[in-house]
């Protein structure tokens, strides 16, 4: 929105190559959306009052409005609840559209900082969620300090890191992969 309150979206900004990019990134049924609105009332993002939620995201994606989608961080508030996928009458898998927008955003580093935090943790420890003080909590219930996951096994963790380096993470990670 422009300073001073002018709020007009220029439709000719719409870029068809962005639509194609999203389709290639997993939103393969995107164009079939008839905007029936069924996802609009079931989406936690809509119910919680995020500016951009599933119905609008799908429509903006179809119009190719790249800047609007990448500037707004709403897609990163998607709960992945998949209720939209369950009820979508046109089977466009709306959640896949969200994921496609995220995938496009990551490529141009248009994602919130905590996205990288999760990825960094995943890469370093094998766990995206890695809160401090877990050793104490585990001891309290009589469990070993570390769970028997990749965290306890260096050789597995190294292999897992090698695995992750085979993916696009290698290109986009803003942290060292060693």
């Amino acid at each position: 929105m422009e300073e001073g309150g002018v709020n007009v979206i220029d439709l000719t900004q719409g870029d068809e190559s962005f639509v194609k990019e999203l389709i290639a990134l997993g939103a393969d049924e995107l164009r079939e959306c008839i905007q029936c609105g069924k996802c609009g009332a079931t989406c936690p993002m809509a119910l919680a009052g995020l500016e951009f939620f599933i119905k609008r995201i799908v429509h903006a994606a179809n119009l190719g409005l790249r800047d609007i989608l990448l500037e707004d961080s709403s897609v990163w508030g998607c709960q992945s609840c998949n209720r939209c996928v369950e009820i979508c009458p046109m089977d466009i898998k709306p959640y896949e559209v969200i994921q496609a927008v995220r995938r496009a955003a990551v490529k141009v580093e248009a994602c919130p900082a905590n996205t990288y935090e999760g990825l960094r943790n995943l890469y370093r420890f094998g766990h995206a969620v890695f809160p401090k003080g877990f050793e104490e909590r585990r001891k309290k219930v009589g469990l070993p300090e570390k769970p028997p996951t990749a965290l306890s096994f260096d050789e597995f963790r190294k292999k897992y890191q090698e695995l992750l380096r085979q993916t696009i993470l290698e290109e986009i990670a803003p942290f060292p992969l060693d």
Binding site: S80, V85, K93, G126, A128
Partner: protein, 298 residues
């Protein structure tokens, strides 16, 4: 003897090890052999590898699935997201042979392979289908004594049902968790927001105020329609919202009532005689009343 690979994920071992304790306890009591999935990682969470690409998602999940396959077991998760992510990955691998081919290549580079034989279970479906309600009823030591439960299955345990090997007959009218609570002697009525999202997850990380407001709306309906003794949760993420999130709302003076919350694994473990201190070690909302009611009845 039944065997199952226990898949821990992240929140359970690090934030809520009391659920891990409970899962281990209940499997032992139900006579299921636990197989450790050594080297398993994050499922990976929806906001991480799945948000980078379909191949990224499939590769990272296939890592975990291949570990279970190597051990010749299915997988049991206590977290809805782990259940959803890995089932979906399994589904994609079946549906997209071209991705499977790429995944196979990458796995081979790190000396692994995955043939697609592993089935991923959550605690609800595992108890419902693999243990059976009658067996559970016979084995419990403590009856719930009419404890009124508000159940929360969790979105990722329900949808997208197409990608899941088994589940509810009507995913908009879930009954399994209610039936489990009722077979243990509780009362678990339906309520109108039973399938509503609790607000935990990416919304909580990126818009915490909105997430908690959404959660409060759901809690208010539960309070108004059921006024339960306990919330019984099928997903560890939802439990974090129901327990720690609720405590936060109370701290912010936005909530003037309390609904104690337990993961299904915790409740079942307690009914099977687990040490209450361990099974509920991390709970923020006091559970005294609930425990007294369960224990007092025997």
């Amino acid at each position: 003897m039944q065997k199952i690979g226990i898949f821990l994920g992240c929140n359970i071992p690090f934030n809520r090890p009391d659920i891990e304790y409970s899962m281990r306890f209940l499997l032992k009591e139900l006579g299921v052999e636990i197989v450790e999935l050594e080297g398993a990682t994050c499922c990976p969470a929806y906001g991480t590898m799945p948000s980078l690409g379909l191949l990224e998602w499939a590769v990272a999940s296939a890592w975990n699935l291949s570990i279970a396959e190597e051990k010749g077991v299915d997988m049991l998760t206590g977290c809805g997201s782990c259940y959803g992510v890995q089932n979906e990955a399994n589904y994609y691998l079946k549906k997209h042979p071209e991705i499977k081919e790429q995944v196979d290549k990458i796995l081979a580079k790190v000396g692994r392979k995955y043939d697609g034989t592993v089935k991923v279970w959550n605690v609800i479906n595992f108890i419902y289908e693999k243990i059976g309600l009658d067996t559970l009823k016979q084995k419990i030591k403590y009856n719930l004594n009419g404890l009124k439960c508000a159940v929360q299955t969790g979105c990722h345990n329900l949808w997208p049902s197409k990608a899941f090997p088994s589940g509810e007959d009507n995913t908009f009218f879930p009954k399994r968790l209610r039936e489990i609570c009722e077979i243990m002697g509780g009362v678990a009525p339906h309520y109108s927001t039973i399938t509503d999202c609790c607000g935990m997850g990416a919304l909580r990380s990126n818009a915490p105020e909105k997430s908690l407001a959404l959660f409060k709306k759901k809690l208010d309906v539960i309070k108004e329609e059921l006024d339960p003794d306990l919330a019984v949760i099928g997903c560890s993420s939802c439990l974090l919202q129901f327990d720690a999130g609720q405590a936060l709302l109370i701290e912010q003076k936005k909530l003037n009532y309390k609904i104690p919350a337990l993961h299904l694994a915790q409740l079942t473990a307690i009914a099977l005689g687990a040490e209450v201190e361990k099974a509920t070690a991390m709970a923020s909302i006091p559970l005294n009343g609930v425990i007294t009611k369960i224990k007092g009845g025997n």
